[in-house]
Symmetry: C2
């Protein structure tokens, strides 16, 4: 008898993760070598609590299409570190459901679960193939050229930054706009917000990523210098920028310090820098947190991203059927133009709990010579427009897995 | 000889204001009874400083199409109150440019300028037709059924709120999400963010508009009550909500007060309520400011909004040619379904410095019986998808008026 399939989602949401889930459902139900396709609610937590749902009813064309255009995570998510006793329990549940294949869609923490579960199975001679499918808007997984979810977030940031630039330049008075972008440890998303500049516009003027030490005095000096040439200074800033000692910018402020007006800060680096500019430059200043919109704006999803997320989900099924286990699916880019990628696998240990920074050769974002290289990397990932199925109000329809 | 035309933009930006400008340029250049079409940069300020540009080169089909899809304000904006001496100077400049028709696109403050300029012309027997064209995402202008710019902002808020709901419900833990929406005095935009609920979803759970007194204790009590039925509580809140005494919520905090952790608040009501929920409910809580994205997201513009903005701009030309002056163009809705509006005019004094609140019969947003009425009002305004002209990266192209 064919072994059954179990799939779970983990970590933070994105616009593309459900497309990978759709790829898994589609390929697994189509395969004559796999049994029932189950989904665990709230990732590995749902395995432990046996909150498991039969996904077979969602394998038809319409449901697959709806799932592909639904943002966030149709099976819910979790963030949890497991103990060795948890793995014992997980495998016991999987045995009861006659699971032969487990797919886990997530980032580097989720890949740690994949690695440990696979080791547990190997040690205990349990025949379950365990395969990770990459997902994170942060684009910070090693080995793979990029991660599903990044392209759509990058597209959102590129379009939104362009609109913010247009909006911010209408008044003939000096003003600073600070756009705070996700990325606690890596600047990939902020690079996408820099695309207008890399593609020829004169903004954003200042682009700050966590990989490069941030100096507050230098930041203020650059704004003052820019004001000699232009009225509006726009900054794209990663939430995780740090000073030379590795301390997060605005960290002190967040823990209760007050500024010269007696105000303290409740939130992130954008608000902190807003206060800094107000005090040190004294001009009009606004901070904008693009917040969770950058990861859930399915109305602006990249077709390339969604298609790839689906394809890599399907490919995971083929990989598992061919015997792969303890691995994560990856993209290897063959050429930028025409854009071509090959799907491969890597030992999940190369990914688990590891991160990929923006490479050093891209750190000096004042150096125009690197702009075409960065654009050539990002642009293919944001390409294409989706034909979304909409309701009578024009809203893309979402799926609800009961 | 035909008199020339002058047009200016004023107040805050929107996605639709350039479409009204396009309508003015298109109809004025097409008319055989009008001369050169000039644009004043930064509104009335540009008239005073003679920063005036010939718009004739932008009247061809491609430029009109690009102008219609460009967000913000292609001629820049201003916010200024004028003195009576200013009007003398303005009219002198207009005489020099042989202006016979002046069109001002803006909100209720801009209509004050229209009213005063018209009075000055009448008193001094100066033959300039002065016509206002409505524009504000706030939708708070009297007489007109709605204002250009509102439909696109409403569409953005409806789609974004739906995405935020999907994103916020993935973890199986109690959490509150507070979405802060523009609207210092009126709740029209927040109503649009409420559309998912009005159309059958169970969120946003709490919808708070400036027209209805906000009680902090009641707010916390409602969250606690909602937690008995569900894990995620989503709130759509106007930036301008006030308590029963008319004081803005969070106002104290903004002026330097600190919370029980010694933190004070730098920004708006969303952050304030985030702190309040953290202290009083003690669950996970996030505030989201949709910020200027709600007024500049041209990638999600409403076709109805853009088309209407263009048409009302064209209609202003016809009105001026037929002798109308000291008036603002308005929409009168004939039917919701099929949606039909008629363009009319109103004495600008009916609009200048006045505001239109959300009507009282829509204040109790817990009363489901009003949901279909609110939806029927908003839905036609957000209808339709634009075919935007995009560059090779898929980004809608903007115009740059030199």
């Amino acid at each position: 008898m064919n072994k059954n399939v179990l799939v779970g989602l983990s970590g933070g949401p994105s616009v593309a993760i459900n497309a990978s889930l759709a790829g898994v459902i589609k390929a697994a139900t189509a395969s004559r070598r796999m049994g029932t396709v189950y989904g665990a609610r709230n990732g590995i937590k749902g395995v432990m609590s046996e909150d498991i749902v039969d996904l077979t009813p969602y394998a038809d064309e319409t449901n697959i299409a709806l799932l592909m255009q639904t943002p966030a995570m149709a099976l819910g998510s979790c963030r949890c570190k497991l103990s060795s006793r948890d793995y014992e329990h997980i495998v016991e549940v999987m045995r009861r459901y006659q699971i032969g294949y487990f797919f886990y869609i997530g980032g580097n923490d989720s890949m740690d679960t994949v690695a440990k579960l696979n080791r547990y199975c190997k040690t205990n001679k349990i025949e379950i193939k365990v395969v990770g499918i990459p997902k994170t808007i942060d684009n910070d997984l090693p080995v793979t050229d990029h991660t599903p979810g990044y392209g759509s977030a990058a597209k959102y940031l590129y379009h939104t930054m362009t609109e913010i630039i247009a909006d911010s330049t209408i008044y003939p008075i000096p003003n600073v706009v600070i756009v705070e972008i996700m990325g606690r440890d890596s600047g990939w998303l902020t690079l996408a917000a820099g695309l207008p500049r890399f593609l020829g516009k004169d903004a954003p003027d200042i682009i700050a990523i966590p990989e490069v030490a941030f100096d507050e005095d230098e930041f203020i000096a650059r704004i003052n210098k820019l004001f000699k040439q232009k009225k509006t200074v726009i900054c794209a800033v990663s939430e995780g920028i740090r000073d030379a000692s590795g301390e997060y910018i605005g960290n002190d402020a967040k823990s209760g310090a007050v500024d010269t007006f007696g105000h303290a800060y409740l939130s992130g680096v954008g608000k902190y820098l807003e206060g800094l500019v107000a005090r040190k430059v004294g001009c009009k200043v606004r901070s904008i947190e693009v917040n969770i919109m950058q990861r859930c704006a399915s109305h602006l999803a990249s077709k390339c991203d969604i298609d790839e997320a689906f394809t890599i989900g399907q490919a995971a099924i083929d990989a598992a059927l061919s015997g792969v286990t303890g691995a994560m699916m990856t993209f290897r880019r063959v050429t930028d133009s025409p854009y071509k990628v090959i799907i491969e696998t890597t030992d999940v240990k190369n990914v688990a709990c590891k991160a990929k920074d923006v490479p050093e050769c891209w750190h000096d974002l004042e150096d125009e010579r690197i702009y075409s290289e960065i654009s050539s990397y990002i642009l293919p990932l944001i390409g294409g427009k989706l034909n979304q199925i909409c309701d009578s109000s024009g809203l893309p329809m979402y799926i609800d897995i009961k």
